[in-house]
Symmetry: C2
Subunit: 304 residues, 2 copies
């Protein structure tokens, strides 16, 4: 059961030679979720073998060009490819106006419906769920309404141990009862209790996406214990004043967020083009939170 | 004195593996003009060593996504790079509304002015000129208001032959007079007439850009004798019905336009992704107009 994220862009707004504008593709059980959509995202999805037709939903953090200018193109491509399935798109204002503008001017015939859901970027709210995933918003602190997203795989229900089924000759009704946590009476009269033979196949995994934002104590509390925390780190700590002025985070601050939130791993990205060597970010973050990795374009990070 | 065009994208709207959305960069005496701006144009400019800071003006043929979705990103990048020079942008409606929408939503501080000039796509009008170039619109026939552009290098004025200057000991005033086409009286009393000693250093060159469009007899007349005709050829002739329905041209029709307009060379592009082998376009066009080349991404076509 896959739970992984592929980095489609790791740069910030200013152009850089080898870093594209932000986009992440989250794979949960082979269903794909796009998080942010900088210019050229569709091309990089193609390059990394992720079909846009597999997208279940799109989550936009905020309406700065480097996070959204690839969206009109991808929506148009889906139409060309013949998508019929409605596509939910989440984002803070003015996402509705943005999608509406493009719909009015660039769509003669639209073969699928866009379900735009404008979110309140100040709240921590459950905005999306299906049988395997739930997504809540994380209020970020940036220059315009911005929100992060916490993706939680649902922990599956109890399974009954296969050997126990055989050993006790359990019927389908008995298995269902045990899965519900009930006890069942065996043919020899003994009572078999659910905890004796059931187990949880795996724990639901989680991925938090926090970009763009200042360091936020509130976010730290909301992402507590997350398996993988993606946190922007646009600047190095020597430029923390600049980070503050522009509503961004330094690598040190991102590491602090990971440490205090007791995240299992930290991935940093959204590097400013003023720094040529990404390893400076890694060194700075690792000095506080050693389980840090860099967001590298084309790389897939799995959560086992 | 350079006069060349670099192909930044040769595909049509539907996505294709190795063809990007349309954009051409015209270099006239090391001043650059961008014609159309599909998604990812700025990245390909960087790849091919064309600095967006060198752009003198942008010409948009029509507001379909595959010709304009790269524009907001490039305008934003120019701001990041610190452009101060105003940038003229030409295009048919609703270019003004498009630029205005992005300005309202994506610009907090704009360091340079965008001089949007919405053109009437039904007219053949001079819309831009400077000391070396003039640009006129070409009315195209597509599903929405669309116009092509004819770029004409200005033919420089008469020069006086250097050997003649020496031979006759011509003064500055006499040279100016001869350049104006006047005759001058030499010290020995003889009359030196302008045509005897003046010449035109080179003939102005021309490039016509026609995409997207049905075959148009009017355009054929307007581009008569052009040095390089770029004409879209989205389809092969076997799909001419489809071309007609979608407002596009076949390779055969593009070649016919080149033949009848007595163009010196033809370049075809905007190939539909349904065809994998571009050589089919070349063969079809060359059977009518042999001096045809394919628009290949990254290639620079010089007009000598």
């Amino acid at each position: 059961m896959t739970f992984s994220v592929t980095i489609l862009g790791s740069g910030s707004a200013a152009p850089a030679a080898n870093r594209h504008h932000t986009a992440h593709a989250l794979n949960v059980h082979e269903q794909f979720y796009l998080i942010d959509c900088g210019e050229g995202t569709q091309e990089r999805m193609r390059r990394y073998g992720i079909s846009p037709m597999k997208l279940k939903a799109i989550f936009i953090s905020h309406l700065h060009g480097d996070h959204i200018f690839g969206l009109p193109g991808i929506l148009s491509t889906l139409n060309h490819l013949g998508r019929k399935t409605p596509l939910p798109i989440f984002g803070p204002p003015p996402i509705e106006e943005y999608l509406d503008f493009h719909h009015r001017h660039f769509t003669q015939y639209m073969g699928y419906e866009i379900l735009c859901q404008q979110v309140n970027a100040r709240e921590n709210t459950l905005i999306y769920q299906n049988n395997v995933l739930e997504v809540t918003t994380l209020p970020l602190r940036h220059r315009i309404p911005s929100c992060g997203y916490l993706f939680r795989e649902k922990t599956p229900g109890w399974n009954v141990d296969k050997q126990a089924i055989e050993k006790y000759g359990l019927s389908r009704a008995q298995i269902v009862a045990l899965k519900r946590g009930e006890s069942v009476r065996l043919t020899d009269g003994t009572l078999l209790e659910s905890p004796q033979v059931t187990y949880i196949p795996y724990q639901g995994r989680s991925y938090a996406y926090c970009s763009d934002t200042l360091y936020s104590g509130k976010v730290v509390r909301l992402v507590h214990g997350v398996d993988l925390l993606y946190h922007e780190a646009t600047f190095l700590d020597k430029d923390k004043q600049l980070a503050k002025e522009t509503g961004h985070t330094t690598a040190r601050q991102a590491a602090r967020a990971a440490l205090l939130s007791e995240s299992h791993r930290l991935m940093i990205g959204h590097f400013s083009s003023r720094y040529k060597d990404e390893n400076l970010f890694l060194e700075e973050a690792c000095s506080i939170f050693p389980r840090t990795i860099l967001a590298r374009e084309g790389e897939m990070v799995s959560i086992p």
